[in-house]
């Protein structure tokens, strides 16, 4: 009898082990997920190919974009989030194409494609080693996504196992400004953010 019981036990054990393995297998997106470096506001966060810091995050209901003397308003069914910071390549010339806002609930919002490229935002810049340059990220999201959001920056959207920098922001739903203006500058800092339109 013990022989049969032992067989039965072995089969049950094998079934349980297989079940556990099957249900704890990581998703494909977890296996190929980028390698993350975490940081907070104002901190210089280092990834292996670049470093990034976020200095300020502002939230507004309307965004006015001023280029070449003309101002165009952009309304939204949610709010605009404007993040400013600095980035520097460490070893070779590179571009940072992918910027996302990860809300507390895990929903992602990408960099807005409504604002024209005459305003110099992160995807259009080239970063040279040894030369930090200012960086601008603009997102559009529902107001509920603002609190506890994380800014996620990577070189590209598609490369698996690439570096990624995540910065936990201090943006709050309580500080929503009525309007912000982003003005293109011809010299010096490529843009200026002005409050209240």
């Amino acid at each position: 009898m013990t022989g049969m019981m032992r067989t039965a036990l072995a089969v049950t054990f094998a079934a349980a082990a297989l079940y556990a393995l099957q249900h704890t297998r990581p998703l494909y997106s977890d296996i190929t997920s980028p390698i993350v470096s975490w940081g907070g506001m104002g901190e210089d966060v280092e990834a292996s190919a670049f470093r990034l810091s976020l200095d300020r995050v502002r939230v507004a209901r309307t965004l006015n974009v001023e280029t070449f003397g003309k101002t165009k308003p952009y309304t939204s069914s949610g709010v605009w989030v404007v993040a400013e910071g600095k980035a520097e390549a460490k070893f070779e010339t590179l571009s940072l194409i992918s910027g996302e806002w990860l809300s507390r609930r895990g929903v992602r919002y990408i960099l807005t494609d409504r604002i024209p490229a005459t305003i110099e935002m992160m995807p259009g810049d080239v970063y040279q080693p040894g030369l930090p340059r200012p960086l601008l990220l603009v997102f559009e999201m529902p107001p509920e996504a603002v609190n506890g959001g994380t800014v996620v920056v990577a070189r590209s959207k598609l490369m698996p196992l690439d570096d990624e920098i995540r910065i936990a922001t201090d943006a709050s739903e309580a500080d929503i400004e009525p309007a912000l203006t982003i003005r293109r500058n011809e010299e010096g800092q490529p843009w200026s953010i002005l409050p209240q339109g």
Binding site: L27, Y28, S29, Y74, T75, S76, S77, G78, G106, V107, R108, Y109, I110, T112, D113, R114, E140, M141, P142, E144, A145
Partner: protein, 193 residues
């Protein structure tokens, strides 16, 4: 090793027969199922304009259809083409931004396939990019109507659904995949000069 007995061969033949019958029954069953499904295609429910349709990834509310030569940007193109435009309200229900609205809303036309439509954001009077989750927007889809074909009085639109698979069949990756049509909507077309 024991000697093979005389009945073993008969037993083996019997086993082959049973296995063959089982396989035959299985293929007969699947064939008849296919024939039945072809004879009874699933009915796509009809929806009315103004009704919110859940496609899985999008919540679409069709409002109106019109035809004209001026696109929603307000700037007529240098080569005038007739456009058929459909106005709608959309909300992206998924967790990632998407710009694949034209996969969810398709036009049923009798003639040759149309070019994929262009999405316009009514708020900007410009091209629409990605739609962020949870943000309702008014969108106009504009199809270029081929020359010589008259624009119909009523448009038939099919709203296609999508399902989210946590692990797909190829890589085990998570993604949205096309599912069956969710609804069909008929819209009257307002003709503009």
């Amino acid at each position: 090793m024991t000697e093979p007995s005389r009945t073993t061969i008969r037993q083996r033949l019997f086993a082959f027969l049973i296995a063959g019958l089982g396989g035959l029954a299985a293929s007969a069953f699947s064939f008849s199922l296919a024939v039945y499904e072809a004879a009874h295609p699933p009915r796509t429910p009809k929806a009315v304009p103004g009704e919110q349709i859940d496609t899985g990834r999008w919540l679409v509310t069709l409002r109106s259809a019109r035809s004209g030569t001026t696109p929603p940007t307000g700037i007529p193109p240098w080569k005038p083409t007739r456009l058929v435009m459909v106005d709608m309200d959309v909300v992206n229900q998924s967790a990632t931004p998407s710009n694949l609205l034209s996969r969810a809303v398709t036009l049923d036309v009798p003639q040759a396939a149309l070019q994929p439509p262009t999405d316009y954001l009514d708020r900007d009077k410009g091209l629409a990019g990605h739609f962020n989750p949870g943000m309702p927007e008014r969108v106009t889809l504009a199809w270029e109507w081929p020359e010589g074909n008259p624009v119909p009085q009523r448009l038939n639109l099919t709203i296609n659904g999508q399902i989210y698979k946590l692990r797909d069949n190829l890589y085990g990756a998570s993604d949205w995949f096309d599912a069956d049509a969710v609804a069909t909507v008929e819209l009257p077309v307002e003709q503009a000069p």
